[in-house]
Symmetry: D2
Subunit: 358 residues, 4 copies
């Protein structure tokens, strides 16, 4: 299933070392101004080689829009797009052709399909997220017209973590450092940790937080289409993600109802709001107009620049060492991907919500 | 969206105090023996009033199978089913008609639809999970033929928590106590905590763990259909769930790749397996043949048997107190629901996986 | 696949001689007045035994609404409904248990599923259309608010056929006779033919025409979601249907473009309209505001009250004779079914169309 | 909705005069040899300018495969593909920018989206069928392994029509002439008619027949997923198609059941077969192992090389004359498109059918 969404739908294609990656955005509302600067910015945020903290791979990642845009506006027709693979060092993977790297998708893909493109992980490569960033950029163009903003940031790298909630930080500082953490001091600690880990050929995990503000009441559907269900499904589909929580999340599971209910009141404009927002902006699966916020846990990536044990296609033990250019920590580059997936979920839910009344 | 799944699909309907709840199971494989005892057992596990720990509501919850079964076997045609509502005390909710209970779905439903059935929460009631348990029971009937087992248990209630992994417990003890915790001593602590909380009209959250064993290699799809994506979407669609993690989850986000990779080896039969299973049985979104395990966080339910502040439909402040029969902790009754959703995801993924080769 | 539609979705279940038939209507807009009289009327039009022309089977077909309606209005939540089977003579089918009736679904169902409910054709029975009529009635309730009307009528029975287009008849006369033909003289001819055919244990086919008026511009989508695609898929899913055409249809395939183009002009209100409507109200897959009209061809039903040759489950030749109560011509009772399917397609397309702009 | 199919899915994009057309084929079975010759052949059959009967437009239509193929085999991952637009004369359409051509999609697209790409009809252009031919070619690669063949041919142009059924002709002659009609003499008549019509700037309609042989028993699903439903939906989604019928179709609607039932018998191998095949290879919505055959009616295309009346965007009357290079009769080039859509439906149904048993 390479299609995501119900009304606003992204279908993606492409392998790490194939000819190109790309996709089709279907259900994009018509008449939206296409903001190419925004698209470039999102691609740049995802791009490898953007800082010393990330992989030194250089990928131009020039997005070519193939359809669905006319004289600077979306037409409501599907937007085909493509990014050519230009900087692939496929020979880096020659030694991996006949073995299964630990905690990678090599074994499961080969078992499932009976064939796999071993170069750079093929379809299982995080390079696939290029398509998500393009889809997310278009979703953001529509959300901007609705006054909805999606902002993610790095909350934790290894054991270095922010203590406060998103409200305790100035999120405009997120892009001020390579880690994408709005607490500049913590960011420096995180960066130091990433460099240390990288120096020993290891990798490190972490947590990204995301906040959606300006979201109207009513997005999400009862039962299986709950907004948190869509967000969790979206986030868990990102490479290396192992956990999702919203509102008080796992921490809230320890507490009592009397401490967690959000009391309703009215704001100065007479609008019904909640005094607190422990619910995370969603009640009964439907947005309540407050900020939606959630955390996404990333495991340390499996590619180590060290000798590792594994087996070959026949199950015989072999030792290998990964070559090539890899991230020691994916968090900084995953921030725009979390935003992209969230933006697509919100726009899709917004469009679906238009159909509940005549 | 009241349909769940792609090939094996459950469509559910019904409100807490309406005529009936029920659903349609579509895509159930043909020729499976219908195990009515299993169905009854699953319904009994979900049923209110089963112990002192749960709501004293008595619901007969007799499932009537309306179609799709012929001479004790499934026919491949859709299975319609229904459970009549017989024990509803709708008048318990008369005082809630014109107000929005804190942290319930009252406000969001009313805002979204312009109308709501206020009785017992209407569609947003956890009574809706009756349909999930029926769907899950049928999924389990098919999984049993495949040697796949789904077992959930209560891991945590409030701050009382198991310390070990699922392998440290004898899961056959799960049903030996009302809390559904395989550690009998901890179960007693949890039960005491629930009773204490209940005594003061409060509620308490917790965590349920689930293990899927016997799962073949190959379930789940690349990119958006990752198995963890489907599981997370399924779990987050359950009432009161706030978080999902699999494998090492949030804890693993703190660590390094060198500590977390699962090295491949072969077992006595020459089958490729992993030495450890920190991945949680899924790699690249596809099951690798090891146990799949995950945690689900539940918030404390919002219905308190205490005076609470809120607003009415016009936004005017009001005080109210919930009446009726409610769970102080949903965990014990949510264990079968977690299993039901997991069983449906696994069967669906199994059927989808049949289509990847000619 | 027992679900029909994308936003407005009907999921149906039930076999001819099972416990009940029914379904779930999902995506029904909220706040629509539920017109139970309309529902009863549609069910009565479909009901067997309504006239001498149809099967003498008596089926009460009392629809029980199980959810989704509160105080006379739709709530936006799924509408579960059910019709119990009460008048089944299952023993009429005992002699068919071990054989495959010619041109029925017996052989294909048994081959596909390895099991079949032989009683009354099981799931393949036209009795399944009960669910469609309920779905269609709810769709009509919504369409009525939009000023959209769906009217079908019997155009042809065997070789007795109307010559004119729908505009040449007063469609309010359709229900004035048992055949549901707006030309009362032709209706009498058709009725006579049906009686004659019935008298010799035979059956007869025909054509139903349908007109959708008041449809706004813009329903239907480019490429695969063309409105004619949805209508054709819907009609071809009705039992015994063998053909679909809209606008000039097969007749138009003989002609030239210069004779068939519909020239644009403006009406008195300045609205852009077409001078003629050979296109059948759809251009480029999207409604153009003119009447949508189409024809549906029905084969003569396969159940003959005569001796017939066939084979048993082992392929051995056997002779059999159907027992029971059957229609010699399904056209009169299929008129409301064609309307129901068309109404669901139009409402679904209307709701989808709400999502093409922000 | 620019995605077609349930398991085998084609998502298409592109406008007539945009940068490129293309699509994504998802759900292609893994391990299938990619037959590039077949792909080229199918593209050549669809290509404009292939004979004097078709438009003189020259389109290279070089398909570039971007992903999903590794070392000559499909990998089970999505196949992205693209055809650049190279021969577009967009200025041919400058005079059409501000008016609505009769019986084209100009008016409906503009009304629906509030914007349209007027060049060459934009998304509504039949050039979009490039993507269908690519999808169909891949489907045929898989079907070839299953021994399933899809063959279409021109049955009728204007009033020149074949009289026999497909069994009366040698379908290997279909490609022997420019009309793609297996009756060479009739083909000459048809060709003469097309030239005559073209000479006067007019266009002409017709009928294409299609036969699917070698199809196993069991494809298609009860109720809404009937095989004829999927085929009809597929065919009606092709530009200019106005009608669909299978088996005896509209002609059969005139007759009696006693003349049309297909009696079961066994063949020399003991396999259950039908003596006749009036049903068209489908019973109860499911293939019965006999040939599946159907007809598709095409209207004469709307683009005339003559002066025509219409209105501009403001509804003011204007006269215009189309420029450029257009087909006077689309039938010859639509033959491979009918095959492509049929091939995709059959492969999709084959894959779905794998899921009905464990």
């Amino acid at each position: 299933m390479n299609t995501f969404g119900q009304i606003f739908r992204l279908t993606s294609f492409g392998e790490s070392h194939g000819v190109a990656l790309g996709g089709v955005i279907d259900g994009m509302p018509a008449g939206i101004d296409v903001d190419l600067e925004l698209l470039d910015k999102e691609m740049a945020r995802r791009r490898p080689g953007q800082s010393l903290l990330t992989t030194p791979r250089k990928e131009a990642d020039q997005v070519e829009i193939l359809s669905g845009v006319f004289e600077g506006k979306t037409t409501g027709c599907p937007i085909g797009f493509m990014v050519r693979n230009t900087s692939q060092h496929s020979s880096d993977y020659d030694n991996l052709r006949d073995l299964f790297r630990p905690s990678h998708a090599d074994f499961t893909y080969f078992s499932k399909y009976g064939i796999r493109d071993h170069r750079g992980g093929g379809r299982s490569s995080a390079r696939e997220t290029v398509a998500r960033c393009v889809g997310g950029a278009f979703a953001k163009m529509a959300l901007a017209k609705l006054g909805i903003e999606v902002k993610a940031f790095t909350r934790q790298v290894g054991t270095v973590s922010l203590d406060g909630t998103y409200r305790d930080y100035d999120l405009s500082l997120t892009e001020s450092n390579d880690v994408r953490c709005p607490d500049v001091a913590k960011a420096a600690e995180m960066a130091a940790l990433i460099k240390e880990v990288k120096g020993v050929g290891d990798t490190i995990g972490g947590v990204i937080s995301c906040v959606i503000s300006g979201c109207p009441v009513g997005l999400g559907d009862p039962v299986f289409g709950r907004l948190q269900s869509r967000l969790a499904g979206a986030m868990m589909s990102i490479n290396a993600v192992k956990g999702f929580e919203y509102g008080l999340g796992f921490e809230g599971a320890k507490g009592r109802g009397s401490e967690q209910n959000d009391v309703f009141t009215t704001d100065d404009g007479g609008r019904i709001v909640t005094l607190t927002n422990r619910s995370g902006g969603i009640q009964g699966g439907i947005s309540n107009g407050q900020d939606i916020y959630f955390n996404v846990a990333f495991k340390p990536v499996a590619t180590l620049l060290r000798d590792q044990q594994t087996v070959d296609l026949q199950g015989r033990p072999v030792e290998f060492k990964a070559r090539g250019r890899h991230d020691a920590c994916v968090l900084p580059r995953a921030v725009p991907i979390v935003e992209a997936m969230a933006a697509m979920v919100i726009l899709d839910s917004y469009l679906i919500n238009k159909t509940v009344k005549l």
